[in-house]
Symmetry: C2
Subunit: 261 residues, 2 copies
DNA sequence: GAATTTATAAGTGTCGACATTTTATAGACC
DNA sequence: GGTCTATAAAATGTCGACACTTATAAATTC
């Protein structure tokens, strides 16, 4: 099994989502948390590829612990959907199928429209203003053509949205679903012109929040999520791994043929 | 700690939901599964009350195992929301607050409306017909004034709905949320005239499915869930436990003052 | 007698070990 | 050479043990 590299200093957005979910379900600084954090991060970053084995004895050596906390960490990651643990068999990094991605996006579209409605109905003006800096960050990244920067600013924007909507349950669910989709982030940005479109949507969305236009906000939010899925599907992502490790990362850098119907 | 009674022979609806969720996440017949099943059932049935301690050494004695599988079972129940595990402290049966219930119902209302839309859009006529026997069961229970019978027929109805909608993710989420709400089943049926209203809604809903009327089905489904919450709130449920063990069961038998605004 | 401190009991998180099952390796056979 | 079988290696699920923490009971103080 591959050795898992430590989490780098400059904590990226991916790690932030992971850490937040861990905060709410596990304890502050435990062995289990630390292991789940590092293994989860390795999965999100693509260092561990879908289908890779995650045997507990190997991991316990890497983290200088016994197998017990490793098992619990893997169990946690399984509940978050990042790991599969067949009985009596080695845990594996979850392989994400297209159907699964479609289903998740369907749920996300629905729940984010709820979030939008809740924000309009219940969030304070002060809370809504908190979204602005991230919109600006997205605008800056868009202008600079910084795909990765745009993506993480967008994640942060959505994070604030789920926070200020006031419904902790929907937040928990969306966080978990987001975690599983982070691997696809490169696919979701591959299409040229995507950033401009997305940015425009978010600017309109923010205005809808401010103007307390619930139907518009809900519809926009739903559309944003749906378009995210459409881009992934158009990018040709299928969930199959090329065995030589050619991941979505490389695909993301290419310009795909325009197909703007 | 109280001794946990074995699960009775005639498997009730509550156990069915629990078993289904276990089927999808755990292995077929493992120690962990058996423990999670029994403890979970005891919580749903009210045999274990919110706030009760669940220390692992005691449980391991009851099940004649070591603490390891008990810990894993409790960890699983924590992820399902039935148990809280503060670090270094004894696990407890989760105490459900009113805010939490409201949030959960908000999510359920939304996701069930999605389920309704998906059924109209994608379920086969044959699948929709599968709902009919449970509607009939509900009608019979309603006529007989059988609260409990009506409730479980309703659960079964919803179960088929989430199954035939074809989205496994939404099913998983709704199953988990349902599990946590099962304890409130008595509160949710307490209001007089509630059964007739609910039955009528479901009859209309089924017709909407058959006639492939997506907006109507979605609206009906949303209304059904919302009315469920309203009944709970009107029943005076607050989440506080009377320390002498007077649970919602007794409250359910009383007739509350009519308040049909 | 109530509140605070002290001592005792109980419980948690982690560990290393073992039996059983799965996986990988080597040998036999065609 | 390739397929099947027997053997060895490795990994899993479970166990009992131990250090450390938390909860409970007793003792002390005001």
């Amino acid at each position: 099994m591959e050795r898992i590299a430590p989490i780098p200093e400059n904590v990226t957005g991916g790690h932030a989502v992971l850490a937040r979910i861990l905060d709410r379900s596990n304890q502050q600084d435990s062995l289990v948390r630390s292991i789940a954090e590092q293994v989860g991060y390795a999965i999100i970053e693509g260092q561990l590829q879908p289908g890779d084995d995650l045997n507990s004895v190997d991991l316990s050596h890497q983290f200088n612990t016994s197998r017990t906390p490793v098992r619990e960490a893997l169990l946690w990651l399984e509940k978050e959907g990042l790991v599969e643990i067949p009985p009596r068999r080695r845990p594996r990094v979850t392989r994400l199928g297209l159907k699964e991605v479609r289903d998740i996006y369907e749920v996300r579209a629905n729940l984010y429209s709820l979030v939008a409605e809740l924000i309009v109905a219940r969030a304070s003006d002060a809370d809504i203003v908190r979204l602005e800096p991230f919109k600006d960050q997205m605008a800056a990244a868009c202008q600079a053509g910084d795909l990765e920067g745009y993506f993480w600013a967008n994640v942060a924007f959505q994070d604030i949205e789920t926070e200020i909507c006031g419904n902790d349950q929907v937040r928990r669910i969306l966080d978990s679903l987001m975690l599983r989709m982070l691997k696809l982030r490169y696919s979701s940005l591959s299409h040229p012109g995507r950033l401009e479109q997305s940015l425009q949507d978010h600017e309109r969305l923010l205005r809808a929040y401010i103007e307390r236009d619930a139907p518009l906000a809900a519809a926009l939010k739903r559309g944003i999520v749906r378009r995210g899925l459409a881009v992934i599907e158009r990018s040709g992502w299928s969930g199959d791994e090329s065995p030589d490790g050619v991941s979505g990362e490389i695909l993301a850098e290419e310009d795909l043929p325009e197909d703007d119907r």
